[in-house]
C-alpha cells in the first residue's frame, strides 16, 4: 500500500540525513521525499511517500517518532487529504508543435513560464497521475527535460499538523 507520511522536524543541520538514513538502514522504501521550512523557521515539514504493508508503515511511523529531532508524525493517507506535486517540463516547440503544445498545456491547466524560439517550459501541478497523464498526452520525442518535486500533502478540513 502507498502511504503519505508527513513529519514536523526540528530545522537543524543533518535532520534530513537522520530521516533518510533511517529508511536505508532499516530497508524501508522511499518513493519521494520533499522537505522545506514551515512558517515557523525552526521547524521543517517533510512529506515522504512510501510503499509497504501495514506492519511496515506502523514500524516506519514508530521509528520516525523515535528520532529525537522529530516533533510529530502523521500518516496522511489514513484519512481524507490532498496531495500535489509540481512539475517543470522543457519541450521542443517549433512549427506546428508550438501551437499543439500550448493547447495541451491549457487543457491540463499548465502555465508556460519560459519561451524561446524553439522551446517552452511548462509548469504543471496536480497529483502524480495527472502529471503522468500530461507526459503521456504530448509527443514524447518533444520532451527535452522534466523535473518533479515529489509529493507534498495536507489533511482535509480539521486535520491539522502543527506544534
Amino acid at each position: 500500500m502507498r502511504h503519505i507520511i508527513s513529519i514536523l522536524i526540528e530545522n537543524e543541520s543533518g535532520a534530513l540525513s537522520r530521516v533518510s538514513g533511517l529508511f536505508s538502514a532499516r530497508g524501508y522504501n522511499i518513493d519521494s521525499l520533499t522537505v522545506a521550512p514551515t512558517e515557523d523557521p525552526s521547524l521543517s515539514r517533510m512529506t515522504i511517500v512510501s510503499i509497504g504493508s501495514d506492519d511496515i508503515i506502523e514500524q516506519i511511523t514508530k521509528q520516525l517518532n523515535k528520532l529525537i529531532d522529530v516533533v510529530k508524525v502523521v500518516d496522511l493517507s489514513e484519512a481524507p487529504h490532498i496531495e500535489r506535486e509540481l512539475m517543470l517540463v522543457k519541450v521542443r516547440a517549433t512549427g506546428k508543435d508550438r501551437e499543439e503544445m500550448k493547447r495541451v498545456a491549457d487543457i491540463f491547466r499548465g502555465h508556460i513560464i519560459d519561451v524561446t524560439e524553439s522551446s517552452y517550459v511548462i509548469e504543471l501541478t496536480g497529483d502524480g497521475a495527472k502529471l503522468d497523464a500530461f507526459l503521456n498526452a504530448i509527443d514524447r520525442s518533444l520532451i527535452l527535460e522534466t523535473v518533479r518535486t515529489g509529493v507534498c500533502g495536507i489533511g482535509r478540513g480539521d486535520r491539522i499538523l502543527k506544534v
Binding site: 543533518g14 537522520r18 514500524q59 514508530k62 517518532n65 529525537i68 529531532d69 506544534v163
Partner: protein, 569 residues
C-alpha cells in the same frame, strides 16, 4: 565570568557529578585534557585503545546505573570508538561520548585526523550533536546527559571542534530541560493494564518473559514481587539475567538459542505471555512463524513503542516505564477480586517440572579434561554467587549465562545485542571503577581476550584486581560448533593457531598468570586467585575440552521447541 569551551566541558561534567571519564588524548582534545589536568573532581582513566574506553564506560554504567562518559580525539579516535558505541546502542546503555573534531574552519577539507563523526555514528547512537558555537556547548552537553538516561537509554555523542574549546562565553548550566520533540512516556495506559490483568487472571498456562529493560529501569524487586504474587514461571533473556533471582524455584532459566529446555518449551506452549522489557529478538524466539503456530495472548510492556509488534503480533501493548507499569499491575491485581486459576496453574507447573526433569544442562566430565561448564560452576561456588561477571562473546559467554546463577541485577555484564568480542576485559575495568570493592571476574576465551588484551596495561596502571578466566579450547569455539553442526566439520579459520603463552603474557604486564590443565586443579586455582591473590589481577588460563559444545541449541531459523539437546548427539 567567561570560560573557555574546554573549561565549560569540565564544568558540565562536574555539574553532572561524573567521577570517571574513560578516554585517550589526541590533538583535537588537548585543551580539554589540559582542563582535566587542572582539577581533581573528574578523574580520567587512560585506556590503551579507544574501543576499550567506550566498553569500560559502558560497563561502568551497566554495573551502577550511572551514565558512562568517554572522551576521545577526532578521526581514528572516533572510528576506534564506534564498535563500543554500537555495542552500547544495541543494549540501550546510557553513555555520553565526547569527541574532538578538527577546527570548524577545517571541517570538510579532509584535514588531518578529520572524520565525519556525526555521519559515521548516526546509525548507532540515540542522538548526536556537532557543536558549532561555544554558546551552545553547555546546553548541548546537558541535553546529551538527559537524552542518554531518559526514555529508552542509549549512547549520545557530542562532537566538539577544537576552536570551540578555546573560545570563551558565559557559563550557565541549566538545572532542567524540556525538548518539544522528546517526551518519553512513563506511565502505562491504565485501560491497557486493566486488559492485561484480566488476561493474567484468566490464564491457564501463563508465562513471564523479561529482558534487559527490567535491569535498566531498576525494576528487579518489583518484578520479583509481581511474579511471586502471581506464582507464574519466569524466564529471562541473556540481557535480563539477574532481574529475577536465578536460584528461585519459579525461574526456568534463560530462554532462546541456548536457553533451557523448560524455558523454551514453556515459552512455546504458554497461553498468556507477559513480556516485560524484552524485544522478541531472533536469538530469543527463533523462527517467528514457528513461534506463532501456538496460539497465545501476548502482553508486551516496553518503553519503546517501536519494540512492540516489531517481530511478533502483540495483543495488549503497554508503552511505559517498566517499574511504573509493574506498580500499576500490582495495584490492580490487589484491587481485583479474581485470583490466578490455582487448578490450571498446578497442572501447568506439573508439566513444567516434567520438562525441567530433563536436566538439560547436565554434562559429563572425567578426570583428565576440564569441562568449561565446570569452571563456571566452580567460579559460582568460590565467589558465593555474588561476583560481578563480565564476558566476551562465544561459547564461554553462553556457559557463563547458563551456569552462573545471578540473583541480583547489574551483576552480569555482556554484549548481548551486538555480540562484541573484546568487550569482557575493558568491561571488567569499568565495573571495578563503579564498584571499587567488588569481586570482578571476566569469563573469556582465548579468541576474545586477544581482541583487547592491551588493556592488561591499563589494569596494571590502575591496580585493578580483576580475575580473568580464559576458557581456552584453542578454537573460536562457537564458530567451530556451527561448523561442526552445519558445515560438515570444515573448520575454516576457526582454529586459533600460534597462541601466546598467556601466563608469561600476564607476567609481562606485571600480573599473576596461572595455567590449569586438570579438573582437580580448577577449584584450588580459583581459591588461590580469589583469596591469595585477592589484590592482584590473575589471568587463569584453563585448558579445556576442545570439543565441548553449548546445549541446548535452537539452530538459526528453527522453532523454539525444536531444540538440539546434548544427549541427542
Amino acid at each position: 565570568m567567561q570560560l573557555t569551551g574546554a573549561e565549560i566541558v569540565i564544568r558540565c561534567l562536574q555539574e553532572e557529578k561524573v567521577d570517571y571519564v574513560f578516554g585517550y588524548p589526541g590533538g583535537s582534545v588537548l585543551f580539554i585534557y589540559d582542563e582535566l589536568f587542572k582539577q581533581d573532581q573528574v578523574r580520567h582513566v587512560l585506556v590503551r585503545h579507544e574501543q576499550a574506553a567506550v566498553h569500560a564506560a559502558d560497563a561502568y554504567s551497566r554495573s551502577s546505573d550511572k551514565v558512562g562518559v568517554c572522551l576521545v580525539t577526532s578521526g581514528p579516535g572516533v572510528t576506534n570508538a564506534v564498535t563500543g558505541i554500537a555495542t552500547a546502542y544495541m543494549d540501550s546503555i546510557p553513555l555520553v561520548v565526547l569527541t574532538g573534531q578538527v577546527p570548524t574552519a577545517y571541517i570538510g577539507q579532509d584535514a588531518f585526523q578529520e572524520a565525519d563523526t556525526v555521519g559515521i555514528t548516526r546509525p548507532c547512537v540515540k542522538h548526536n550533536f556537532l557543536v558549532k558555537d561555544v554558546k551552545d556547548l553547555a546546553i548541548t552537553i546537558k541535553k546529551a546527559f538527559y537524552l542518554a538516561k531518559t526514555g529508552r537509554p542509549g549512547p549520545v555523542l557530542v562532537d566538539i571542534p577544537k576552536d570551540i574549546t578555546i573560545q570563551k562565553t558565559e557559563f550557565h548550566y541549566p538545572k532542567t530541560l524540556s525538548m518539544r520533540s522528546y517526551n518519553p512516556v512513563v506511565k502505562g495506559h491504565t485501560g491497557q493494564i486493566k486488559k492485561a490483568v484480566q488476561l493474567l487472571l484468566e490464564a491457564k498456562r501463563p508465562m513471564i518473559y523479561t529482558g534487559g529493560g527490567v535491569i535498566l529501569s531498576n525494576a528487579a524487586e518489583k518484578l520479583t514481587r509481581l511474579a511471586r504474587m502471581l506464582g507464574f514461571p519466569v524466564t529471562q533473556t541473556l540481557m535480563g539475567l539477574g532481574g529475577y533471582p536465578a536460584t528461585d524455584r519459579q525461574h526456568l532459566g534463560m530462554l532462546g538459542m541456548h536457553g533451557t529446555f523448560e524455558a523454551n518449551m514453556a515459552m512455546q506452549e504458554c497461553d498468556v505471555l507477559l513480556a516485560i522489557g524484552a524485544r522478541f529478538d531472533d536469538r530469543v524466539i527463533g523462527n517467528p512463524e514457528h513461534f506463532a503456530r501456538n496460539p497465545r495472548k501476548i502482553i508486551h510492556v516496553d518503553i519503546d513503542p517501536s519494540s512492540i509488534s516489531k517481530r511478533v503480533k502483540v495483543d495488549v501493548p503497554i508503552v511505559g516505564n517498566v517499574p511504573d507499569v509493574i506498580d500499576e499491575i500490582i495495584r490492580q491485581l490487589e484491587a481485583s477480586e479474581g485470583k490466578p486459576d490455582a487448578r490450571h496453574l498446578a497442572a501447568w507447573w506439573k508439566q513444567i517440572e516434567e520438562w525441567r526433569s530433563k536436566n538439560c544442562l547436565k554434562y559429563k566430565m572425567g578426570s583428565e579434561l576440564i569441562m568449561p561448564q565446570y569452571v563456571v560452576e566452580k567460579l559460582y561456588e568460590v565467589t558465593g554467587g555474588d561476583a560481578f561477571v563480565t564476558s566476551d562473546v562465544g561459547q564461554h559467554q553462553m556457559w557463563a549465562a547458563q551456569y552462573y546463577k545471578f540473583d541480583k541485577p547489574r551483576r552480569w555484564i555482556n554484549s548481548g545485542g551486538l555480540g562484541t568480542m573484546g568487550f569482557g576485559l575493558p568491561a571488567a575495568m569499568g565495573v571495578r571503577f563503579a564498584n571499587p570493592d567488588a569481586t570482578v571476574a571476566c569469563i573469556t576465551g582465548e579468541g576474545s581476550i586477544q581482541m583487547n588484551i592491551q588493556e592488561l596495561s591499563t589494569c596494571k596502571q590502575f591496580h585493578l584486581p580483576i580475575k580473568i578466566l580464559c576458557l581456552n579450547n584453542g578454537y573460536l569455539g562457537m564458530v567451530r560448533q556451527w561448523q561442526q553442526m552445519f558445515h560438515g566439520n570444515r573448520y575454516a579459520e576457526s582454529y586459533v593457531d600460534a597462541l601466546p603463552d598467556f601466563v608469561k603474557l600476564a607476567e609481562a604486564y606485571g600480573h599473576v598468570g596461572m595455567r590449569i590443565t586438570k579438573p582437580a586443579d580448577v577449584e584450588p586455582a580459583l581459591r588461590e586467585a580469589f583469596v591469595k591473590h585477592k589484590n592482584q589481577l590473575v589471568f587463569l588460563d584453563f585448558l579445556t575440552d576442545k570439543t565441548a559444545n553449548v546445549f541446548p541449541m535452537v539452530a538459526a531459523g528453527k522453532g523454539l521447541s525444536e531444540m538440539i539437546l546434548a544427549e541427542e548427539l
